[in-house]
């Protein structure tokens, strides 16, 4: 009897010691994983900090009122400004969003409110996702072939068309998602009052989902405002102010690219300043829209650029 108990105690001791040994090793691995994760976060934050720091440090010195309003001077002198680029970006992006916002919202309404589970909605959803992932330079080529070659000139239209293709799928997807979370009881209330469906959709459902839809538009606009590649073959870039929708214009990302390819320090300084302006425009725009929306009582969701 005593022997058995001794053996039992022995076994228990052995078991405990192996478990302890294992658990200290386990804990070490666990700590290593935690440290790895923290390092990963650091690796992501250092570039962001450095980018913001460099853009502000290098850009702030070239910022003057003339820089924002004047035409580009000669590259070596460091004189002149980026007026046409700011103007061109506003015009091109503005027209692109005038095309893309309604198209995207209506397509989103179709998917959320009208489409059943048939093959057509399925196909639209699927190809919309495919459209989201297309490289922007390919869309630039499409803009070149479809518009530049047809009207015979690099133009605002071509640039806006190419940019609108980037923006539409974003708006479609966000609109659909935000309409889907509107509770059905709201629609039913409308139906019970005998309101026609189009009125219910536009005046009730869409209003309830407005903050989400607005977020989609803001994401879309901030995305296309920073696009460079499709503008190379559509609006071309120029040092002149806007002369007409059938003519080339300049844009901030294009101007930054051109300035960065110059071998002169003064051009680089202007490039940094233009980058600062670009970031400010994107930020300012989204903040203003949020502010307006907040004043009207709409709550805008936290913007999630990266999911799109």
């Amino acid at each position: 009897m005593e022997k058995i108990q001794q053996e039992k105690a022995n076994l228990k001791y052995q078991l405990q010691s192996t478990m302890e040994r294992k658990s200290s090793k386990k804990r070490k691995i666990d700590r290593l994983v935690t440290i790895f994760c923290i390092i990963c976060v650091g690796l992501a934050i250092v570039p962001l900090g450095s980018i913001l720091f460099e853009v502000i440090k290098n850009g702030i010195s070239a910022l003057r009122i003339e820089f924002l309003t004047q035409r580009p001077g000669s590259m070596i002198s460091g004189r002149g400004g980026i007026g046409p680029a700011i103007q061109g970006t506003l015009i091109t992006v503005g027209i692109a969003s005038i095309i893309a916002a309604p198209a995207g919202i209506f397509a989103g309404i179709y998917l959320a409110e009208f489409a059943g589970t048939g093959p057509l909605p399925h196909a639209i959803r699927f190809f919309n996702d495919v459209l989201t992932g297309l490289p922007s330079i390919v869309l630039g080529i499409v803009g070149y072939i479809v518009i530049v070659l047809v009207i015979g000139s690099f133009s605002v239209w071509a640039g806006s068309f190419a940019l609108s293709i980037i923006m539409i799928p974003i708006v479609v997807r966000v609109t659909e998602e935000s309409l889907k979370v509107v509770p059905n009881s709201i629609r039913e209330a409308g139906h019970s009052l005998g309101i026609p469906k189009w009125k219910i959709t536009l005046h009730i459902t869409l209003k309830a989902a407005f903050s989400g839809v607005l977020t989609g538009i803001v994401i879309g606009i901030s995305r296309i405002a920073g696009e460079t590649a499709p503008l190379i073959m559509t609006i071309l870039g120029t040092s002149l102010f806007f002369t007409g929708f059938d003519d080339p214009v300049d844009a901030l990302p294009l101007r930054i690219w051109r300035l960065a390819s110059q071998p002169y320090d003064s051009a680089h300084a202007q490039g940094w300043a233009a980058a600062l302006i670009l970031i400010l425009i994107v930020l300012l725009f989204s903040v203003t829209l949020r502010f307006l929306a907040a004043r009207k009582g709409f709550k805008v969701r936290v913007i999630r650029y990266s999911n799109l």
Binding site: K26, R27, D30, V33, F36, C37, C40, V41, L43, A44, I45, P47, S50, I51, N58, P102, I105, F106, I109, Y110, L111, F114, A123, I124, D129, V130, L131, G133, L134, P135, S136, I137, V138, L139, I141, V142, I168, E177, H191, G194, P196, K197, A225, G226, T228, A229, I232, M233, P253, I256, W257, A260, A275, L278, V302, I303, R304, Y305, S306, N307
Partner: protein, 335 residues
């Protein structure tokens, strides 16, 4: 009033009411349906237009080079000696994207794990906002930063030490580095895709039911073991999908790569070491499109667009399918 007319009357009223309720018969509703269907059809039309335009524009080069366009290594636009082969650029694209994935995917998943499993909410909420900001920076600004700041870090901290240590006997590191090469391009691309992959991964991890974790913890598993046994198997295909979407972005990115990859042409663009200059499909298009010497040259660039389009479409469709399979498996993953 006999019962027959009463019945008729009843029927008529019912019809009126149902007409009122089933609004399909109202002209405004029909018009509205037409508008939204038209808008939805427009997105399909756009895709068809893209395929048609790119296909039509590249007919000339494919009839001139045939399939040699995909396997050729020469790139010459000089009149009379034209040769266009996309292979070097295809390799350049795949190499930079591979570097971006090797660095970007583990880091992104590490970030996602930190945000969803380790950090308390008061840390993870502002932190995820900061990482979202990284996604909002336009790629041209990344390019500017990479060209004037980051590439010197890379040269001083990574490339030169590697070259000095291994350059003589490992061909992978065997080229005097000066920062404009596939390695730099790949690393900057990885920085660019980190927010994309990490935020999708975080959503996926958050969607794993807590019962999974609790079950593992109750068996005495540590945090890492819980992740390995109970969490990762649950989201495996979703994580693959997220990586695919990041890969699609890395393959198609243009302006950033154009600024830091060194822009070699033709056979020189096949990277022989990590520190070789190269080009990607997208960067050749951006560099040469406005200077295209002939319609054949232009068509060759559009042909590169065809290759790029097919590559990214395949990658993205793969990613979308993987993520949607994941969504079907576990309801609630959708935002």
């Amino acid at each position: 009033m006999n019962s027959a007319t009463l019945k008729d009357d009843h029927q008529e009223r019912r019809k009126k009411l149902s007409n009122l309720l089933l609004s399909k018969k109202k002209p405004m509703d029909r018009a509205f349906f037409g508008i939204v269907l038209g808008a939805a059809g427009y997105t399909l039309l756009l895709l068809a237009l893209i395929v048609y335009a790119i296909g039509d524009g590249s007919i000339e080069i494919f009839s001139y080079e045939g399939l040699d366009f995909l396997t050729g290594t020469d790139w010459n636009a000089v009149y009379g000696r034209e040769a266009f082969g996309a292979l070097p650029y295809l390799i350049g694209t795949l190499v930079t994207a591979a570097i971006a994935m090797v660095i970007g995917v583990p880091v992104s998943i590490g970030i996602a794990v930190f945000l969803s499993e380790i950090a308390p909410p008061r840390v993870s909420t502002p932190l995820s906002f900061v990482i979202e900001l990284l996604a909002a920076v336009p790629s041209i600004v990344y390019g500017l930063w990479a060209l004037f700041v980051f590439r010197f870090w890379i040269v001083d901290l990574i490339e030169r030490p590697l070259y000095n240590a291994f350059g003589d006997w490992i061909p992978l590191f065997g080229k005097t580095p000066f920062g404009l090469d596939v390695f730099t391009a790949g690393i900057v691309l990885s920085i660019m895709i980190i927010p994309i992959i990490s935020s999708i991964s975080r959503e996926l991890l958050k969607a794993v039911p807590d019962t999974q974790r609790e079950a593992a913890y109750s068996l005495g598993a540590t945090r890492w073991e819980t992740l390995r046994i109970a969490v990762f198997p649950y989201v495996k295909s979703g994580l693959f999908g997220a990586a695919f979407l990041g890969l699609g972005r890395a393959v198609g990115e243009t302006i950033l790569v154009t600024m830091v990859i060194g822009n070699a042409v033709g056979i020189n663009a096949i990277p022989t070491s990590l520190f070789s200059q190269s080009q990607t499909l997208a960067s050749v298009i951006a560099n040469e499109f406005n200077e295209a010497a002939s319609s054949l040259h232009l068509s060759a660039l559009i042909g590169l667009g065809v290759v790029l389009l097919m590559l990214t479409m395949a990658i993205n469709i793969g990613g979308v399918l993987l993520i949607s399979r994941m969504v079907k498996v576990s309801p609630g993953v959708k935002e």
